[in-house]
């Protein structure tokens, strides 16, 4: 029978015990800051109407992608979602490519054909699929996991999805296969309390404390509930799950408890939650928290961090320039991409 484990915020005094190095922390901080600043820029570009179309932002949730990607190897597979800017950047896709994709340009991750909702699809780094259909990635993760097992490889699959996804039929059918066949899959549930306007408890039978982890047990999948504002905690959870999977121990369902600071997308009037609630959650801000830890514990000085942030901002501006200067595909070229 499967079990559930809880991993709360990791006190900095215990980083050594968990083998967390300064480099690890600096990488996490940089990654989270990159996502944050990148998306803030994206918001502005939308406001300026330089970007159009879908806009599902990751702000507030940076620690989740950061912690998970840190735990993965180069060869591992990833299944991402329409809320994938953060996954893309944390996985190491260059910001230029990500921004160019948002601008729909031929130089983007997917030559512009995916756009915001598929920006993270990037087979070169193992992100094999990015889906805009809630829940649909889970069966695909099962297939990827099956292939790994079939070939006796040591890879794992990390499949991202939201709290709302656990109520879809696709999730259920896929999770059943993953649990049944003991596939090397990490189900990464980004529980940000809402699926669009649907709060977890209002749409999910059996949830307690706004958690969906009880669903993992239905498929004989071990669960880890982790504080999704601490990239270190998420990393530890994902590392554990990945190790287990690589050693034939089967799947893990990680529920990262997080929150999105912005609306579902930029068209969301947010009638379903109060401003106070949002402000309350913002106090947990992972970027702010890790900044303080780095400084308070002597990992880095404010100046150092400011320097990195400046680099990041430059990199982002460069990505915007790059994107805007890049061409679109011609319409005729499109016909080349329908069939192999």
């Amino acid at each position: 029978m499967s079990r559930v484990e809880n991993i709360g915020i990791i006190d900095p005094s215990r980083y050594g015990e968990y083998g967390i190095s300064k480099e690890d922390l600096m990488w996490m901080w940089r990654t989270m800051m990159l996502i944050r600043r990148f998306e803030e820029r994206v918001v502005k570009l939308f406001e300026e109407k330089k970007l159009v179309g879908a806009s599902h932002l990751y702000i507030g949730m940076e620690a989740v992608a950061t912690g998970v990607m840190k735990a993965l190897d180069k060869d591992d597979y990833i299944v991402s979602t329409y809320r994938g800017h953060g996954h893309a950047l944390a996985r190491g896709i260059p910001p230029r490519l990500v921004m160019a994709e948002l601008f729909g340009r031929a130089t983007g991750t997917n030559k512009g054909l995916g756009g915001s909702m598929h920006v993270s699809m990037y087979p070169e780094l193992g992100i094999m699929m990015t889906t805009a259909i809630v829940g649909s990635g889970i069966p695909v993760a099962a297939g990827l996991g099956y292939a790994i097992k079939y070939r006796g490889e040591k890879r794992v699959v990390a499949a991202f999805f939201g709290d709302g996804a656990v109520n879809t039929g696709a999730f259920h059918e896929g999770a059943n296969m993953i649990g049944l066949w003991r596939l090397p899959v990490i189900l990464v549930c980004e529980n940000n309390l809402y699926g669009m306007g649907g709060r977890v408890d209002r749409v999910t039978a059996g949830s307690t404390g706004f958690s969906v982890i009880h669903r993992a047990l239905a498929y004989n999948i071990d669960g880890i509930v982790v504080d999704g504002f601490d990239p270190v905690a998420v990393y530890i959870a994902a590392r554990k799950a990945a190790e287990k999977a690589r050693n034939g121990g089967g799947p893990t369902f990680i529920e990262a408890r997080t929150y999105r600071f912005l609306g579902h997308n930029l068209r969301d009037p947010q009638r379903y939650r109060s401003r106070e609630e949002v402000e309350e959650w913002k106090r947990k801000d992972a970027v702010i928290r890790l900044t303080r830890i780095l400084i308070d514990n002597g990992y880095a000085s404010q100046e150092e961090l400011d320097g990195i942030e400046k680099q990041i901002l430059e990199e982002i501006e460069d990505s915007v320039r790059f994107a805007q200067e890049s061409p679109y595909l011609s319409f005729e070229e499109l016909y080349n991409f329908i069939y192999a």
């Binding site: 512009g112 598929h118 879809t168 696709a170 669009m196 306007g197 499109l334």
Partner: protein
Amino acid sequence: MGEIIMSYAAALRETLREEMRRDPNIVILGEDVGAWGGVFTVTLGLLQEFGPQRVIDTPISEAAIVGAALGMALAGLRPVAEIMYMDFITIAMDQLITHAAKLRFMSGGRIKLPMVIRTQYGIGRAYGPQHSQFVPSWFLQPGIKVVAPSTPADAKGLLKAALREDNPVLFIEAALLYETTGPVPEGDYIIPIGLADIKRKGSDVTIVAISRTVLDALKAAEILSEKHGIEAEVIDPRTLYPLDLKTIFSSVRKTGRLVITTDEIRSGSVAAEILSRVAEDPDTLYSLETAPKIVSSPDMPVPTPAPLEKAYMVNPDKIVNAVITMLR
């Protein structure tokens, strides 16, 4: 009674409100139809007026949304289920096609299914291939009726009809239509399902235009008239199943020329269905003076980048060109 200028979204919303006041059996269910008010504002305010028992926010479960609607209808309620994007209807196909469309027949005609499935297709907003599909032809299925209004007035009239119909009605809206405005008759304005509308009279060419492309066709007709002296008759089938072929046939017999416009991809489209019906009807076929033409999206997933999507989509110029090539 008079008319009021309102948007397509508002026409739908006010119709739902009117009908829900009239008939306590009507309940709405779907994702974010309540507190959010529907992502296109169609159900905005209805939760406040009718309460959560009648305006039901569901989990993300398209198959069960349609399945539950079916169960409600079997019990005598009159559910209006919303599928947020037509792309997501792929998930409810079993419930719609294998159950809703067939259950009455399989029961020997003893049950009724007064249910409406509202959905919309999202093309034209750079949302990409998974949020832009328009697949009405899948629902040309005995047991279901399919409507796709193009104007606020038609939206009202057809929604009223759908809400008094004892069969499953698939009600297809379009994202690009929600903010378009037009006069809407007040009161109990009902447009019978199965009746095409001649949106513009003309004698030189028949343009059968589906859903959003009706707007393009009307613009094209103006250009054709003003710049080329060609008078196009624009027919909006409004109901896609069962089709009002009579109206289409008699227009084609009059004009001898036919263009069909749609936001579907060409293959397997309702446009192809209409064209095949024309071709199978001897009198209409023989009246054709030139080969008919379909102006649609090409056989390609929609490209996400806005300019490419624009090039991909039907527009007035493409329709004008098709007509001119035909008449040359």
